[in-house]
């Protein structure tokens, strides 16, 4: 009984802080919006092709960035998990280093590289490969490149732990029973690392769905994702009803994706012993 009180006492400050400054405002503003305008802003969002397209672009950019981050991150994490050389420590620093640098700074680096007068165009022109500069900055491609740069470290960190915990002897066992390297990967290593892949992908997907700096700086003024659209509705169009609708729709999409992933994978995770 006394222990229960102590747990309650420890929990109380944080519970109340979150309640006052987080849960209450989130609920209050949702109720307030619905009370003032009903569902009209939400109906407008899905009725207007302009807004529907923004949701679609956000989903598309996030899916593509997540997929490419996985493709880049998996072999990297695999190498880091298995190597015994000093390279691992060096790579860990290289992975964590951009991770610690502001997204504004990293986007600026890509602006310098990808701009019309940027380094990539200077290089390609001096090599005589192109005559007119490529337009990469302020396109969806630039946003995806910047996004991948942001996401790969998170993906690698999610995967390294899981891959490290796979006993190499399991692989040797598969080999000794006559499995080819490809079979060993697809039937042993890949399924065992699936929990890491799923958690990494969900993390990275959520981050790109909500990202603001990268689409704003690398996408230019005509490229819009959900988060940048919220700010635009507030600061440029002064339409707070629309901004509310977009905010809550974005939140709902993220929660739906998380719930869907948990529901679809819970059976599998349990079989793999990941649900304990």
């Amino acid at each position: 009984m006394e222990r229960k009180h102590r747990a309650l006492l420890l929990a109380l400050p944080t519970v109340l802080t979150l309640l006052f400054f987080f849960v209450a405002p989130m609920v209050y503003i949702l109720v307030h919006t619905l009370h003032e305008n009903g569902f009209s802003d939400f109906v407008d969002f899905f009725g207007d092709p302009f807004y529907r397209n923004i949701l679609w672009v956000t989903l598309r950019v996030s899916l593509v960035s997540t997929a490419i981050s996985l493709v880049l991150g998996y072999p990297t994490a695999f190498y880091m998990a298995r190597t015994k050389s000093r390279m691992k420590q060096v790579m860990m620093i290289v992975i964590l280093f951009p991770f610690l640098v502001s997204a504004v700074v990293r986007s600026y680096g890509w602006m310098v590289i990808l701009g019309t007068n940027g380094l990539l165009n200077q290089l390609l022109q001096s090599l005589g490969l192109i005559s007119t500069p490529l337009k990469i900055l302020n396109t969806e491609t630039a946003v995806i490149i910047g996004m991948i740069h942001l996401l790969v470290p998170y993906m690698v960190l999610s995967l390294v732990g899981v891959l490290q915990s796979i006993d190499p002897n399991v692989e040797y066992a598969a080999y000794s029973l006559g499995a080819s390297p490809l079979q060993t990967f697809s039937k042993v290593v890949f399924p065992l690392s699936l929990p890491g892949i799923i958690s990494g992908c969900v993390l990275v997907f959520t981050m790109s769905m909500t990202s603001y700096v990268t689409p704003k700086l690398l996408g230019g003024s005509k490229f819009r994702m959900m988060a940048t659209m919220v700010v635009q509705e507030i600061n440029v169009n002064f339409d707070w009803g629309a901004a509310s609708a977009i905010s809550y729709i974005l939140l709902a999409v993220i929660l739906l994706v998380q719930i869907a992933v948990v529901l679809c994978t819970s059976g599998y995770m349990k079989r793999m012993g990941g649900g304990k």
């Binding site: 420890l10 929990a11 400050p13 990297t76 695999f78 504004v104 600026y108 310098v112 960190l157 919220v230």
Partner: protein, 264 residues
């Protein structure tokens, strides 16, 4: 010997990914020393004039830096208190609903910061007169809390609680147990969480840009505002300083906490 297990293509691939990650940072550092306003490679000469620009009054970068540090330090310090007590409440005692409580603590992670920022903006506009620093502080206090809770929990999860009982049986008071046993053992998790939380706050843009007032603007917002007006290597110079700070930080971390803390 084991090196052979990791085949060569995998190794080359990993190195290419590392180059991709480093490319924009290296470019920025080199660009910060170019004498011309247009960044060309290789740079035509060497100049430090963009660094001098940073400290000029027109950029407001120093003012922004002070504001960012204030918010980052205050929010992190407050969240260490909140986060550690919260983590203890779900790890030290077992009771029904403790998983739900942990999810509640980390729930701000699942809300887009721009959505939360807009909600706060509406609340502030209804209350009126909330000063700029407090507006951003409350926002950061909430969004960085999950990092400290999660990292502390991950250490306390494997914590050997009998150590506390041992100390108590040898006559330590509860306060001594807490400060001499529990906190020192949980410190790597608290430090890693605090570091991530501070960096998140220091680099945060979406929330700060919606909630800042003309009198209180943080560094990333100052940099973005500058970028919209002038695109010169002053941006490369301030970015280089920030990159350098991150590098110092990571070397210190490797030395004192170890980087394995960040592998989930």
């Amino acid at each position: 010997m084991r090196e052979k297990d990791v085949n060569l293509p995998c190794r080359i691939f990993a190195i290419l990914v590392m180059l991709f990650l480093l490319a924009p940072l290296v470019v920025i550092v080199i660009a910060s020393f170019t004498p011309t306003a247009l960044i060309t490679f290789p740079p035509q000469g060497f100049s430090l004039k963009w660094y001098a620009n940073i400290f000029g009054s027109s950029t407001h970068f120093m003012d922004g830096l002070v504001n960012s540090l204030k918010i980052g330090i205050l929010a992190t310090a407050a969240d260490i208190l909140l986060g550690v007590t919260a983590a203890l409440s779900v790890c030290r005692y077992s009771f029904k609903g403790k998983d739900a409580l942990l999810n509640y603590y980390t729930s701000p992670m699942y809300v887009p910061s721009v959505a939360f920022a807009f909600v706060l903006l509406q609340v502030y506009s209804q209350i009126g007169g909330v000063p700029g620093m407090l507006r951003i502080f409350i926002g950061h206090l909430i969004i960085i809390l999950p990092y400290i809770v999660r990292n502390t929990v991950s250490v306390l999860h494997v914590f050997n609680w009998t150590l506390e009982d041992a100390a108590t049986s040898m006559g330590a008071t509860p306060i001594q147990v807490f400060f001499k046993i529990t906190i020192p053992l949980a410190r790597p998790g608290i430090m890693a969480g605090a570091l991530l939380a501070f960096l998140y706050s220091f680099d945060e843009v979406a929330l700060s840009s919606l909630l800042s007032t003309p009198r209180f603007i943080t560094l990333p917002i100052r940099i973005m505002n500058y970028m919209e007006l002038t695109f010169d290597p002053t941006l490369a110079a301030i970015s280089t300083l920030l990159i350098l700070a991150s590098l110092v930080l990571i070397v210190l971390m490797e030395k004192f906490v170890g980087l394995d803390m960040f592998v989930k």
